[in-house]
Amino acid sequence: MSRRINCREAVEQLYEYLDRELTPATELAIRQHLAECPPCCDHFDFEQLFLEFLRARCRAQGAPPELKHKILRELFDE
């Protein structure tokens, strides 16, 4: 049985939880708190959504194809 945590403790570790940076025990304690606390659960969902949104918007961009050709030319005289 893991330690019980309150809302403040859960929210303080929100980003570490979403970034998967916590120990399995702390992660479990937060997951249990979220299961019992709809307001915290909404808050975590909102932040998770924000991070996914950020990632999706920024990763749409990749290197221009000419850049790869330029690099290959420079490195291997192609």
Partner: protein, 203 residues
């Protein structure tokens, strides 16, 4: 009695064509595959497409020259990003001093979720914000926040990897990420209110 002539110092053997081919193949396999990541980070650091191009080219050139020292099979992405960041600091940042545009005191208290938990708790307004607006918001962050958020949220590096790369404690990475994300939310929230996507609350 004459002293025997000293032999000339040995010249290092030229790498065999096979070794060169192998070097190239492993570089393409392990380094060039990270080109998109390098470019995205370069673009957010320089905030300029032409400079990002140059920075990535220079990074790849340096990486190829140092490729024999890289321990194959370890984290090439982190290694390349470290080279890129050094090149940026040494050569680009010196040339261009951008004013930092964000008021740091305004960061902590504002939580977009608290503002919106009645109006839009599912954050559906995010869907209406276009890529360019998000990139603009990131580019408006102070440099330390910008690089941390890009390495974490865009490129998926762990706190530990970022801390090692930036040579700061993990706690610093954590607090920069917290502030950077809050700042971004705030910017995007203000934008969404301005565009009429959400009503928001008067401040």
């Amino acid at each position: 009695m004459t002293t025997p002539p000293t032999p000339p110092p040995p010249t290092p053997p030229a790498p065999s064509p096979a070794a060169e081919a192998e070097k190239r193949a492993s570089f393409e396999r392990e380094a060039l595959v990270h080109l998109d990541s390098l470019y995205r980070v370069a673009l957010r650091l320089t905030r300029n497409a032409a400079e990002a191009d140059d920075l990535v080219q220079e990074t790849m050139l340096k990486a190829y020259r140092a490729w024999d020292q890289f321990e194959k099979g370890t984290n090439a992405k982190g290694w390349l990003l470290t080279i890129l960041r050094h090149a940026f600091i040494n050569e680009y940042r010196r040339r261009t001093r951008h004013p930092e545009t964000v008021d740091l005191d305004a960061i902590e208290p504002f939580s977009v979720f608290s503002e919106l938990q009645d109006e839009d708790p599912q954050g559906t307004f995010f869907d209406r914000i276009v890529d360019d607006e998000v990139l603009r918001a990131i580019d408006g962050l102070p440099e330390q926040f910008r690089e941390t958020v890009v390495l974490s949220d865009v490129e998926g590096l762990s706190y530990e990897e970022i801390a090692r790369m930036l040579k700061v404690p993990v706690g610093t990475v954590k607090s920069r990420l917290f502030r950077a994300r809050r700042l971004l939310q705030r910017q995007l929230y203000d934008y969404a209110v301005g565009m009429g996507y959400i009503k928001g609350s008067p401040r």
